[in-house]
């Protein structure tokens, strides 16, 4: 299979601050931000990575960008294995793989002008200086920003929507092949979100980019991505075509996630969420399923053993012990038109 992004067993554990007792006992407690991720992304595909805060979706993005080193597992993007990339090979990798930041107000150095921020990737990639102006003009056209005089401005002189276009332009100026977008519009006003998302979608089509959108927002993922992966406490729990995942969620967590989508009318009565009360805690994930303490349908096997991510006929994947039973008809999930 010739996937563009190829991830196997990717895990990242962060050390936790130790208490006196743990230091004395020589323990090194860790929190498993990401554990045993397996997925492929085909060339040109757009994937949404959906999950709640703290589920490890941002860490996954940072692993793919080689901003953090994995504890174990491998990731390959294009022809490059991420492990051991350095020097010139790492610089080439940075040309191909780019990042769109969540917070445009923080993603640009406040002390340097927009133009210099945009030129930085070009300088690092060794693009001759004579070409800089042309490449920057081209990329500004692509993100539909008019006026070269903007290049003289400082970030605080621009609006959030403009800044996010600039951040996008900086990601695109080297003509990358793979984009990681981490909550690309969550810091923006609702009024400019659609504009940015449409722009990103158009650019992806016209440039043939492969992309992964990381978000907690079901509506966003549904809008931009054909395929959705759902994460819970560091593990992938479900993976499949977005429309199928939303209309026929297989994993109990995905069902809860979709049932939690706000309803457009206040008066509308809603069923209680299919969740048991509890908080997710990545430090307390035991041998069993990560979701077991909140799962409404958990059985004994769920505490004893981690359910593997199994591929179902048709290509969907789900990690749940109840899977054969769970495919049985279940009450349909009503989606609000607001989605």
């Amino acid at each position: 299979m010739d996937a563009y992004v190829h991830v196997r067993g990717l895990s990242k554990a962060f050390p936790v601050r130790r208490g006196v007792g743990q230091v004395l006992r020589g323990e090194h407690p860790v929190v498993h931000a990401v554990r045993d991720l397996d997925f492929d992304i085909a060339q040109g595909e757009t994937v949404g990575l959906l999950g709640e805060s703290g589920c490890g979706k941002t860490t996954t993005g940072r692993l793919l960008l080689k901003l953090v080193e994995p504890t174990s597992g491998t990731a390959r993007i294009g022809t490059r294995e991420l492990a051991g990339l350095k020097g010139a090979a790492l610089r080439d990798f940075r040309r191909d793989v780019q990042f769109v930041f969540q917070n445009p107000f923080d993603a640009l150095n406040p002390r340097i002008q927009i133009g210099r921020s945009l030129a930085e990737p070009l300088i690092n990639a060794g693009v001759p200086k004579a070409e800089h102006a042309d490449r920057i003009r081209l990329v500004l056209e692509r993100v539909r920003i008019k006026g070269v005089e903007l290049l003289e401005r400082f970030p605080h002189e621009m609006s959030g929507g403009q800044l996010q276009r600039i951040v996008l332009a900086r990601a695109l100026v080297l003509e990358p092949r793979f984009i990681v977008a981490d909550e690309p519009v969550s810091m923006l006003d609702v009024s400019v979100r659609a504009g940015i998302l449409n722009l990103m979608r158009d650019l992806q089509d016209s440039l043939g980019l492969t992309a992964i959108y990381i978000s907690h927002d079901l509506a966003l993922v549904r809008y931009v991505a054909r395929r959705t992966m759902v994460m819970y406490l560091g593990s992938l729990v479900e993976d499949g075509p977005t429309e199928d995942v939303i209309s026929r969620p297989l994993h109990p967590y995905t069902r809860a996630l979709i049932a939690a989508v706000p309803l457009p009318r206040v008066s509308q009565t809603r069923d209680p969420l299919p969740l048991r009360p509890g908080t997710p805690d990545a430090r307390k994930v035991g041998a069993g399923c990560a979701f077991v303490n909140r799962c409404p349908v958990a059985i004994a096997a769920c505490t004893a053993e981690r359910p593997p991510l199994v591929t179902l006929p048709g290509g969907r994947r789900v990690a749940c012990h109840l899977m054969p039973a769970a495919t049985q008809p279940r009450p349909p999930v009503t989606l609000s038109p607001a989605l």
Binding site: L65, V97, F101, N103, D106, A107, P110, S117, N124, V167
Partner: protein, 297 residues
């Protein structure tokens, strides 16, 4: 409401203020810069403004011009050994600035570099550098300077060395903590994704953002260095035969100028020290405004 004319009037030397990254409409910072500029000019043109400060002068009647009160010929009077106080004060500016500026530059250079490296790279680099800083902070100030002067000789460069060794940790600590927060900012990560090397990130994205802080500590260090130089000279460990404000005070003290009521002797150098230190404080206030704009409220 400010009219354009007013706006123009308030910006006295905008380019200088901008080069120093100071707010252009901060009157205190302006006063501080003005005091520095005046003293700097005096130091540069000391030869023109004053005669030999160590020359022993005589009156027209052939007597030693000792303890002459201020007059037209001796604007600030003379010392008990017949030396011109005004000339000493002017030439002493030079010593103050040579020591003050070189020490401040050395302190800021060492402190900023150590802070940048420790904060950015972390790990063992951070540990080694910060433990060194702790050791330096534990050294008592004046005894160390006196011992150093005793061992290496009472020379100007040893005074500067002592001040540098003792003052860099303060700057380094503050710069380091600032770098620690900057390192986590989105634009630093963005630079890394854009392919920037560690050195480029430090140079382009981190160092310019901590420059006002470095300059703040520089302006404080100038005052400290001048005070220290004065203390060392006053205690008699300064370079012998040199003229500085501290040495003047030492001289006045040793010859009991206070009991003779020769205020013209010890008030001017004391006042100059205060002025330069206060100027440093004013400028640091200006930087505070750049760094923490919300303090103004």
């Amino acid at each position: 409401m400010s009219t354009p004319a007013e706006g123009k009037r308030r910006r006295r030397f905008p380019s200088l203020m901008r080069a120093l990254r100071l707010p252009e409409n901060d009157p205190l910072a302006m006063i501080g810069v003005a005091i520095y500029v005046v003293f700097l000019l005096v130091a540069l043109f000391a030869d023109v403004l004053a005669s030999d400060p160590l020359e022993i002068l005589f009156l027209d009647d052939g007597n030693l011009a000792a303890n002459v009160p201020p007059s037209l010929a001796f604007p600030l009077g003379t010392t008990n050994l017949g030396r011109d106080i005004y000339s000493q004060l002017i030439v002493g500016t030079r010593a103050a600035f040579v020591v003050g500026l070189t020490a401040a530059i050395a302190v800021v250079a060492v402190g900023t570099l150590v802070g940048l490296l420790a904060g950015y790279f972390g790990g063992w680099v951070d540990n080694v550098l910060m433990r060194l800083a702790d050791i330096a902070l534990g050294i008592p100030f004046l005894p160390f300077v006196i011992v150093l002067a005793a061992f290496l000789g009472a020379q100007t460069q040893n005074v500067v060395l002592a001040i540098t060794v003792l003052l860099w940790p303060n700057t380094a600590r503050v710069i380091r903590s600032q770098v620690l927060t900057l390192r986590e900012r989105g634009f630093v990560e963005a630079a890394r994704v854009a392919g920037s090397s560690d050195w480029r990130i430090i140079r382009v994205h981190i160092a310019p953002n901590i420059l006002p802080l470095s300059l703040l500590y520089g302006s404080i260090a100038i005052g400290w260095a001048i005070l220290t130089e004065a203390s060392i000279s006053f205690l008699g460990f300064g370079p012998s035969g040199s003229v500085s404000w501290g040495a003047m005070l030492q001289d006045a003290y040793a010859s009991q100028a206070l009991s003779r009521g020769s205020y013209n002797w010890f008030v001017p150098p004391g006042l100059c020290i205060v002025l330069v230190v206060v100027a440093g404080f004013f400028i640091s206030r200006g930087y505070e405004e750049v760094l923490f704009p919300k303090l103004k409220d």
